[in-house]
């Protein structure tokens, strides 16, 4: 979290990946910890089935401007998403990409971001949990692993509030998987 107490997260990918729900879950976890949040997304017909973006600002104090202007974290789950909403990052920004569906973009370097973390998110999810569901939760796990922005147990509680019982277990595993991937990132991930 940056020094002014404000944490800005942007997630982008394709319509069906559940990124908006992911941002809501993280927002609710933050609220449970007494934090202030503002969550937003691109909206509408144009985005149908196409590229989407979810944003979250978390702070200990009142949030005036509600949108992300200088993200601490940008997670791009598709190439299209990175292309459309990858602008506006700075040297403060840690960028996460899903290397199983996209290659590390050459326009990102030390000059314009703090770091790039390329993890094979989707493929790992499929191979490890034999599921296509839960991508957004794996990503939450990664974010949690990187930032410890909320208590893990509270994050679990927030997830439980939003997923159907029959998928609860899967989602908890997805969260663990994400956190594991961060722990293991030195070994498996590419970081510039």
């Amino acid at each position: 979290m940056s020094n002014d107490n404000r944490f800005e997260l942007r997630m982008t990918g394709s319509g069906g990946q559940g990124l908006i729900l992911g941002s809501i879950i993280l927002a609710e976890a933050a609220i449970m910890e007494g934090k202030i949040v503002t969550q937003s997304q691109v909206y509408g017909a144009e985005a149908r089935g196409g590229t989407t973006k979810a944003e979250l600002v978390i702070s200990n104090k009142h949030i005036a401007y509600p949108k992300v202007t200088d993200p601490d974290l940008l997670a791009a789950m598709t190439n299209e998403g990175l292309k459309q909403y990858g602008g506006g990052i700075s040297r403060k920004t840690e960028v996460i990409i899903d290397s199983s569906v996209m290659s590390a973009p050459d326009f990102l370097d030390e000059e314009n971001c703090r770091g790039l973390l390329a993890l094979p998110i989707r493929s790992t999810l499929i191979s490890r949990l034999e599921s296509e569901l839960g991508l957004n939760i794996v990503l939450l796990g990664i974010i949690e692993g990187l930032t410890a922005i909320v208590e893990v147990e509270i994050l679990r509680k927030a997830i439980a509030m939003h997923v159907k019982k029959q998928f609860l277990n899967l989602n908890m595993k997805a969260l663990d998987l994400g956190m594991e991937m961060v722990e293991a990132q030195a070994k498996t991930g590419i970081r510039i």
Partner: protein, 264 residues
């Protein structure tokens, strides 16, 4: 279908995968082709909705108007230049909710335009709300417990308003659809085709209609040709939608000619 009727540079279209709008558009272009109309003299006019985006993919003059207002614009165009073939592309909501009044008045005046209703039983564009054509009990975002309102029967509504050509078809029956679109456009007077299409993203999903493919092929099961229906009992027809030509009369014939039996 002549591919040069499409603006290829604007494709792929914005519609969801499996959306029925493209199938109706395909049929419409085929019908226009079959009629060998001069493409410079064809104008497509639409309102607002997913379906109303169709004209902008065609190479004709096309006018994307306001929600519900395609018909008066089309009326203005047609009366200003009688040489033009004016076709309205509209959704079930666009034509029968906010645009209902224009629809019945165009039918009454018998203005020589063709209205093609891309009927997907809901408001696709705004995320799957109920439309006046949504069947009773269906789930939509504004009927979370099932639709209580009865839908219009668009065929009866248009006939009741005085339309001189009214037909219904479904996207599964492409030949049937093209035939009726062609006849409607060729008809001298107001014509309407209720073209039943699928919205897999909302109506299909909310009402567990299966995949887009299933929604297409299932039309075989719940649609009955008018000629076939005439030989069936009401019990056998329960829950079925009848397709075919329902009104086809001379322009400006005495209204009684179109009178439902029970009313005269």
């Amino acid at each position: 279908m002549r591919l040069d009727f499409l603006r290829g540079e604007r494709l792929p279209n914005i519609w969801c995968p499996g959306c029925g709008n493209g199938i109706v558009l395909h049929a419409l272009l085929e019908a226009i082709d079959q009629l060998q109309l001069d493409p410079d003299k064809v104008v497509l006019v639409s309102g607002i909705g997913c379906s109303s985006r169709a004209p902008a993919y065609t190479a004709f003059d096309n006018v994307h108007t306001l929600h519900g207002r395609a018909i008066p614009v089309a009326t203005g165009i047609k009366l200003a230049n009688l040489d033009l073939t004016v076709i309205v592309v509209t959704g079930d909501g666009d034509s029968s909710a906010i645009g209902g009044n224009h629809l019945i008045h165009a039918a009454r005046r018998d203005v020589n335009i063709t209205v093609v209703v891309f009927n997907n039983y809901n408001y696709g564009m705004t995320g799957g709300q109920a439309s006046p054509l949504t069947p009773i009990s269906s789930i939509t975002t504004t009927t979370p417990n099932g639709n209580l309102d009865r839908p219009f029967d668009l065929v009866k509504l248009a006939a009741g308003a005085g339309a001189t050509y009214v037909a219904r078809s479904g996207i599964y029956f492409t030949k049937h659809l093209v035939d009726h679109l062609r006849k409607a456009i060729a008809h001298d007077g107001f014509s309407l085709v209720d073209a039943v299409a699928q919205c897999p993203t909302y109506f299909g999903r909310f009402n567990k209609k299966g995949s887009a493919g299933q929604m297409v092929t299932s039309q075989k099961d719940w649609m009955v040709l008018k000629s076939v229906a005439e030989k069936k009992t009401p019990e056998e027809l329960a829950g079925k939608i009848i397709i075919g030509e329902f009104v086809n009369i001379e322009r400006h014939a005495p209204v009684s000619a179109a009178a439902p039996k029970e009313q005269a």
